[in-house]
Homo-oligomer: 520 residues x 2
Amino acid sequence: MDVHSAGLSIADWRTIIDDAYRGTLQGPVSNLDPSLGTHFDAIFVGGGSAGRFGAAVLRSLGGRPLVLERWPFLGGSCPHQACVPHHLFSEAARELDQAQALQGRLWYPQFDPGAASILELVELFRAQRSGPHAHMNWQSAEQLGIEFVVNTEAEVLDTRTVRAGGHTYTADALVLATGSRAALPGIEGETLSGVFDYATLIEDLDYEPRRIVVIGGSKVAVEYGSFFRAVGRPTTIVSRSDLLTSAGPGRMDPDLRRFVVDGMRLRDVEVLEHSTATRIVGDRRVEGVEVLTPDGPRVIEADFVLLGTGEEPITESFASALPLVYDERGFVAVDARMRTNLDGVYAAGDVIGPPMEMFKSRRSGTTAARTIMGLDAEFHYDDIPDFLHTTYEVTWAGLTEDQARARYGDVMTIQVPPAGMALGDTSLPMAEGSMLYGFTLPERTGFQKCVIDAASRRVVGIHHAGYGAKTAFQYLHHMMTRPEGLTIDQLGDMNELYISSEYFIGYARLRASQAELTGM
Amino acid sequence: MDVHSAGLSIADWRTIIDDAYRGTLQGPVSNLDPSLGTHFDAIFVGGGSAGRFGAAVLRSLGGRPLVLERWPFLGGSCPHQACVPHHLFSEAARELDQAQALQGRLWYPQFDPGAASILELVELFRAQRSGPHAHMNWQSAEQLGIEFVVNTEAEVLDTRTVRAGGHTYTADALVLATGSRAALPGIEGETLSGVFDYATLIEDLDYEPRRIVVIGGSKVAVEYGSFFRAVGRPTTIVSRSDLLTSAGPGRMDPDLRRFVVDGMRLRDVEVLEHSTATRIVGDRRVEGVEVLTPDGPRVIEADFVLLGTGEEPITESFASALPLVYDERGFVAVDARMRTNLDGVYAAGDVIGPPMEMFKSRRSGTTAARTIMGLDAEFHYDDIPDFLHTTYEVTWAGLTEDQARARYGDVMTIQVPPAGMALGDTSLPMAEGSMLYGFTLPERTGFQKCVIDAASRRVVGIHHAGYGAKTAFQYLHHMMTRPEGLTIDQLGDMNELYISSEYFIGYARLRASQAELTGM
């Protein structure tokens, strides 16, 4: 199907994508300018965020990109199976959690654990996801002027040649942006019916889960486990290490982590740490999970198991044709310019490994594009802002308090509730999104901490659980990591929009005038 | 009651404040150090945000402040009658609006307009507001080391002397921070029972309103009107000008304003613009409002009227003793150092006039404190970030698109939904807080616009209706107004935390590589 110059609307694109899902439209959908031939400055193999953003920037710089994508839309796994449904489910979790917490108060009726349905939310997403998909195609064609072929498998033939939809395309450079998929942990029973990962949950769920086990201790486990429990399903998380420490010790401030994990337990998520799922039990369908806990072996009944046990790269379309070097985890190895070991071959996005975050995908794609176009571009992502959802938004950047104390002589913190005070002893931090809790269940309002190096007066770490601060952390992180940093004095001179989700500006102002900073 | 050195907890303070409300505790509650005498570096007359923050900074700079406050707590009208209850009500409005919009879908039952109660929310706030109050007293005494006397009227005797609670205190400087109150519009019937302002609503409401008229067209009218309607009450707003234009033409981008006002009408708020309330009708209790509309006179039935018709300064405690100069609206006139016309007399907070916002109160108080302590401090607030709530958070900073086009030759915008596209034609901007809408009622997800001067590549205006961006606008505004500004290139190089409430970083990245910027 050739759609070039057709000027398709978002609604037109949605029809095409839905037809492709249904199978009534097969074969490539091509937005190519035939007058320009089949040679490109770069071919992006994979049209997820890395490929799409990379192509947009290459085009902006005057190059001619081609994006090849097996799905009928650009945007990749995020709007299809990963971050977008996760955000939908996390928002549902927040609303359902509030409905349970406030039941019988104000306008909230008694909570009916049968009212909400995991299956219904999955089906809602599945039925409507082509809306955002269509926007991506429309934007890529109409606003960004990108040439692309979707709904077709690509096969890399050599470092300059790719075959897709019966055509052969050549380019001066290749960008491998094929993404990743959930990795199986390699335990008995992992292929039983009723065992899912974040992607198959979206594609295959056809019954309502009643009793849930989540295997894993990182973001995916915490986020989906919190969602399942908020819907009203008994949920057990089985984690080999302490929950949320697998990303490496010290990534998350212990006080923040405690608020998060205690908050999950307060909501009756069963969290089994230092525990190993040894076998998934069942006869065709999952019936339970055998777990080795510190207290001994246990079998947990379950009709639904979610695996949150990591990712592996998708390499089938290029692995046999290209003698690439991979890193120790199996991901394509690249340098800071996104160059692989092969001349003219770049990689970007999830296929180069963690963090599996949008900014890394997008910026690695645009870094590849800039490098290809001869610009001096590097992308380092060792110091990043980070977040997850439970029934809260949890966001952090920079150093934990412990890390800061190890690095600097004199560290002060601004913390709400104040250090040493029990959560329920104050209704603060009450803010945007936690006002109802502030006046009913003050222990639920949130937690926040700002870590400052007293000598330089610089903010070196920020930590938040609550609502509404996530977007702000993008900019705070930027200011903290610029060469001149962000001082408590600069922070205290900003104009807060009261009630800010984080109290950093107001509290900084209370302390900024001190010659010798003291915490609060 | 002398509480100095008592080391009171938040719970202790709460008992004191509740006793003061009940009248079982009368007379001043004094946190003074008797060993230091009755002379201070500065006396803050009024312990709202201006006085409290000013005193904290003066103390941090080595001075000795005294704060005098008529209420039994520090923090002022915000946590007592103004911004805190408003935020509670706006959060309730958001939740109730969603419950109505999604009724019959997912886990949302049919919406029962009788389930939610304005009176119950007011009573909840009234019963629990001493919690945050107590935190303020505790923090001021224990963390900030401020001396204060609360629960007592202050009387200024001259520019150096104040009397309160039977004692006379002297200082080298006075800071007048007595706040403001709602001004009556001067129309017949405005003192009938059932006519309220934002403060008397909190203090006096003792019945459930059934049919509501709001008089006024600014933030208070919009915010409370949206809340009343979300609770399920038929609500009419009567505004002399176009809604939300009274702050001055061009403060709010017309596209943003249209999204906001259309959204209110979509939710069945009756908005009468270019209309004047000529009389409030009733025999002791309000029964309706006579309105002159462009279509002629009309009587709107009402058992509750909210006046959102402006503010006047509270000056009784000092007006007769001090020959102050006032501005044309009756507020105390100050310069950028918060100096009045009288030597050693400063003013800060709502008593110096609009904007009645927290950052202005706090920063004017701290500016006065710095000036008193001999520092070179100025505070200008002509270019401020701003916000309001309907059932959305609405936030803006910098120039509107029209203002930017008038000032710069070549302006580009990044807008979602794209310019010219109907709201429901895309599910974007779907983000934190609008995910459920994105998959059910896409016309409700929000609106956002970023205005860029193409020549300098600087962001000159940002505009947002949705959820979760308000706190971020604090930092965006700071970066936009620093001398070097914020360019689209810097923005595009930041690390977004997907799905950000505003798409500015991601969209900037798509365009930043262009030599000649084009909008999207």
